[in-house]
């Protein structure tokens, strides 16, 4: 009797699929439910941001960085502003630095909320996602009060921030933190502790520290693999060196494997707490003063190049900017966290099930516009 014949199936997952987090397509080759190969096909959201950057003046590129990662627009704004400030040698006033940290960390909370919520929703539990959105909505309200937008904030400027906080805003931020801090525990009770959820993730698709570094994983994905590296600590910028916070790393939470999907998830949950801590410190020590440095109206940085990395919610975002002394940059290369997270999926998903692929995508927190730029 001949052995049972099985076929390798080619499956098309996406570009419209509930769990691809944007428009991403995977060409799956599966043996039953087991994935033999998952080839990501990206580029559906390619808007040519690097080309646009060569066409618009330095300050006018700021709104485009919002669209780079719409869930963490301020972190992207900051990265661009910081690159140009380094390139042109601009000092940022301390109040603006504090405002940047407050907004960036609020934005980090908002972004991580979407990330952990979306992972839960990929696992089939939709309610945690909505609960995360419910809390994120309050952050959006704060941002709307501050800068008038709820998603594409365009808040940072080269040399500072665009607007000072309206009266009473800091108290409302504090109020939000007081509200939100216990909500992390409620969220944990709802989904993080859930046995099914833990079992779905804790041993799935572990990434070793070496593999994470070799594939260029950054941010929470890298820390999930146990590498204690955070640009805010190790290559500090802004006022981060003056602030106290910890860098959570994966450690095989709930008897899992180090670097598994659950570790990456837990790192994000822990980072929520750290962000709250950072914001509280900033609120306590924010000085009065200017929010904008003196920057020439038409900015022409001296000839030179810079590679500036900052820690966004999806990890290192780096702007490699070359200036020719013109009012537009000669070349901008944007390196984002999702790009490397996306590139590891093919290697990582081999041998896991389709349901695990969804967990892998969700736990790596890939977001399509950041991949495609």
């Amino acid at each position: 009797m001949s052995p049972l014949q099985t076929d390798i199936w080619t499956l098309n997952m996406g570009p419209q699929h509930p769990s691809t987090h944007g428009v991403i397509r995977f060409v799956l080759k599966t043996d039953g439910e087991i994935i033999a190969d998952a080839d990501p096909d990206v580029g559906f959201l390619h808007r040519g941001l690097e080309k646009i950057a060569e066409l618009v003046p330095y300050p006018s590129f700021m709104p485009y960085t919002d669209r780079l990662d719409y869930l963490a627009a301020i972190n992207m704004n900051w990265a661009w502003a910081l690159s140009i400030e380094r390139l042109a040698g601009i000092e940022v006033p301390p109040r603006a630095e504090h405002l940047r940290v407050i907004t960036a960390e609020l934005n980090r909370i908002a972004s991580h909320l979407i990330s952990v919520g979306a992972l839960a929703s990929d696992m089939g539990a939709f309610t945690p996602f909505v609960h995360a959105l419910r809390d994120r909505e309050r952050i959006n309200d704060l941002f709307e009060e501050l800068c008038g937008a709820r998603l594409t904030f365009n808040y940072c400027r080269i040399g500072g921030v665009s607007l000072d906080a309206p009266p009473g805003w800091f108290d409302r931020v504090r109020g939000f933190l007081d509200y939100y801090e216990p909500m992390i525990d409620v969220f944990n009770r709802l989904i993080t502790d859930n046995k099914i959820f833990v079992e779905r993730l804790r041993r799935v698709a572990p990434v070793s520290a070496e593999m994470a570094i070799a594939y260029g994983l950054v941010g929470p994905n890298l820390r999930g693999s146990g590498v204690k590296f955070d640009l805010r600590k190790d290559e500090p910028y802004g006022i981060y060196p003056q602030l106290e916070f910890e860098v959570p790393v994966g450690r095989g939470y709930r008897d899992g494997v180090l670097g598994s999907c659950f570790d990456r998830y837990m790192v994000r949950i822990e980072e929520l707490r750290q962000s709250i801590r950072i914001i509280r410190q900033c609120l306590d020590r924010i000085p009065e003063g200017e929010i904008q440095a003196k920057v020439p109206k038409v900015l022409r940085p001296a000839k030179g190049e810079v590679y500036c990395r900052t820690e966004a919610p999806r990890g290192e975002v780096g702007f490699y900017v070359i200036s020719n002394g013109e009012k537009t940059p000669a070349r901008v290369k944007i390196r984002t966290g999702s790009w490397s997270a996306m590139s590891i999926i093919r290697e990582l998903s081999k041998g896991w099930m389709i349901a695990d692929l969804v967990a892998i995508i969700g736990s790596l927190d890939v977001i399509a516009p950041e991949v495609d730029r």
Partner: protein, 371 residues
């Protein structure tokens, strides 16, 4: 209901002598049509309203409002949705196996709806009291898996086939713990007829005689049955066949319009069915305070109890669905074979031992059953 109908028929025969000469099958046919129509209306109402209730509850659990546009608090949303689906184009994919593709929703629907015929809505309120009632329920609901497999395979969509295969593996596996748990209830009640099973659960206050109170093992068996029933009904956390975030929509990916409604009708009708069968087997069916099979108002109160209990289960099912994530295929199987089956088996043996020690005494053997 049957008795009432018998009386009606007798009356009709008396008034119209010509009817007396009609053969029996005419009356049976009439009875079938009447009962079938009544049940269909009832089931449609329940399924439709459940769909609205589910969306409202889900909304509230997610800090939303839920549908609230059509009618008071959106109550007529389900009618609007039904009508909308009715007018929608019924798309059949080009490479679908067309006859099977068209047939599948009806099979699912039949399997789900067929079980409603034997449910003991109250002491005298039922369409049929088969002496193998519970076996009939298990048998007819097995049709569902064929419908799902057929639909998933015939739609010519790989995601659909994934869903269908997952579904068949799941339903076939979970029949085992469900069967064992049902056997526990059958052992306690001493009958396969659903009416008899409910009658056997009479006890003080109408509550203490319930099967779950007869032995601690029965209590566990009840949970095992409930979990297995949820799994057989493809509800979260066992909704792998349609696993939205993995398989797009699983077996019903390619369905649209009215056929899609049939699938969903079956799903919501199934919610009530799970509740009704669990109630009948373990929670005393229509038994409850003031329920009395001998007076008409007692029967009505019994019907109320049955409905309330079943609705409670519907709520719990919805509640679970909007809380829990989904299992993975291998975990699903592991849970069935490693946990539910052994536990159900222990429950069955334990209940038998318990009965041999305490007899048929209620409340874990503390209270004597009987008038």
């Amino acid at each position: 209901m049957k008795e009432l109908l018998d009386q009606l028929i007798a009356l009709a025969v008396e008034k119209v002598p010509l009817l007396g000469q009609a053969p029996d099958w005419v009356f049976y046919l009439l009875w079938m049509l009447v009962a079938g129509a009544a049940l269909l209306v009832y089931a449609s109402l329940i399924a439709g309203i459940t769909s609205w209730v589910e969306r409202r509850i889900a909304g509230r659990m997610q800090a939303r409002i839920g549908p609230n546009r059509v009618g008071p608090r959106g109550f007529f949303q389900w009618i609007a949705d039904g009508l909308k689906s009715l007018f929608k184009e019924d798309v059949t994919p080009a490479n679908a196996d067309k006859p099977l593709f068209r047939l599948a929703p009806y099979l699912v629907f039949t399997g789900m709806f067929g079980a409603w015929a034997v449910l003991p809505y109250s002491a005298r309120l039922y369409a049929a009291d088969l002496n193998v009632g519970i076996l009939y329920v298990m048998a007819i609901t097995s049709l569902v898996v064929i419908g799902i497999l057929m639909g998933g395979w015939a739609s010519g969509n790989k995601w659909g086939l994934f869903g269908a295969l997952r579904s068949s593996a799941q339903i076939v596996s979970y029949e085992v713990p469900a069967g064992l748990a049902i056997a526990t209830a059958v052992a306690l009640s001493g009958s396969l007829s659903l009416q008899e099973m409910v009658r056997a659960q009479a006890g003080p206050l109408g509550i203490l005689g319930w099967n779950i109170f007869k032995s601690p093992f029965a209590l566990v068996a009840f949970f095992v049955y409930f979990i297995a029933a949820v799994a057989e009904g493809n509800r979260t956390p066992f909704d792998l066949p349609e696993a939205e975030s993995e398989l797009v929509a699983g077996y019903n990916t390619e369905y649209s319009g009215m056929r899609f409604v049939f699938f969903f009708f079956a799903e919501w009708a199934n919610l009530f069915l799970i509740g009704a069968v669990s109630t009948t087997l373990f929670l005393g069916g229509w038994q409850g305070p003031l329920a009395n099979p001998d007076t008409w108002w007692g029967v009505m109160i019994g019907a109320g109890w049955f409905f309330l209990k079943a609705c409670f289960f519907v709520f719990v099912l919805i509640w679970i669905r909007w809380t829990l994530p989904r299992l993975r295929v291998d975990q699903l199987m592991a849970m069935c074979w490693k946990y539910l089956v052994p536990i159900a088996f222990v429950c069955l043996i334990g209940t038998m031992l318990w009965m041999s020690v305490f007899g048929d005494r209620a409340f874990f053997g503390l209270v004597a059953v009987g008038p």
